[in-house]
């Protein structure tokens, strides 16, 4: 295995394990300050939006908010399914089917 990948997997293992382990191991002895808990609560929504926005709005390095953007078009029904069904599996399947259909029209 290439050294670069070994280091990557090692680093990822460490930074994934620590947030999973630390609170469970030490929380009985220490309280997280209220303001930190508030901040942490926003992290998932913020990070997912920060990942998603460029992923569906920037195509080949340019902002593209037009009907020619198939990612944007596929995202709309995908959002609707996610909101009404609240099911990850179904949402992913609908998104995949939408993008395949849009690419063949």
């Amino acid at each position: 295995m290439e050294m670069k990948y070994v280091l990557m997997i090692l680093g990822m293992t460490l930074v994934t394990f620590i947030p999973r382990y630390l609170p469970l191991a030490v929380l009985s002895k220490m309280e997280i300050p209220e303001v930190v808990i508030e901040w942490l609560k926003y992290i998932p929504a913020a990070i997912l939006a920060a990942l998603l926005a460029p992923g569906i709005l920037i195509i080949d390095g340019r902002l593209m908010i037009t009907p020619q953007n198939t990612y944007l078009l596929a995202a709309l029904p995908t959002f609707l399914i996610a909101i009404y069904k609240r099911n990850i599996f179904l949402t992913v399947i609908v998104g995949m089917v939408m993008i395949i259909i849009l690419n063949f029209i």
């Binding site: 926005a53 609240r86 395949i100």
Partner: protein
Amino acid sequence: MEEKYQDFFTGVKDSSPIIMGYIPIGIAYGILATKSGLGILETVSMSIFVFAGSSQLISIDMLARGSAIIPIIMMTFLVNLRHLLMSASFSLHFKGTGHKVMPFLSFLITDESFAVGNVKIKDKEYRASFFLGLGLSAYLGWVISSWIGASLGEIISDAGEYGLTFVLPAMFIALLVLQIQRRLDILVAVISGLFSLLFVYLLPGNWNVILATVIAATLGVVIERWR
């Protein structure tokens, strides 16, 4: 002793919806990983050691765009910060559990095992056994699906490839929608998305995501306290 095993196997049974969800995402991860230059060994090793679907998919995406290792690790850390809250909340269920089991229970915390475990764990007598059963079978499901994906990597059709490019955005959409509980969450998400779009043009690598997230979450706290 008997009951301990019973709770373990109840956990195994309750993992079936999680595994159903992991199969397509794990296979997609395996295929995309091998397409972005990882071998089967690296691809499956990452599932074995990291066991975090979204950050594995993100790391693959960043690798394909030529990202360096440090931003990938930082990104993984930020993406998985949410596990702090799950781990913190789980500490309520495992008050009497021995400290030797804790690393194993912690490793098995994912969005899905947390969501299912949180609902079903309350009436169990041997909670650690139950969660080990649930988490271990989900873990095996993830590792095996990504191995299948990695082996399929070479023989996937164009149509399938188009579909796979949207797996990650679609999963982000689903997870984002599931995260939204209050109006402020929507505001924070919109702010974060806008900052991320702005920073894409100003910053190298994936730093736009890290900075946008930190700014938006901080603004969320400020707005919440100031109102």
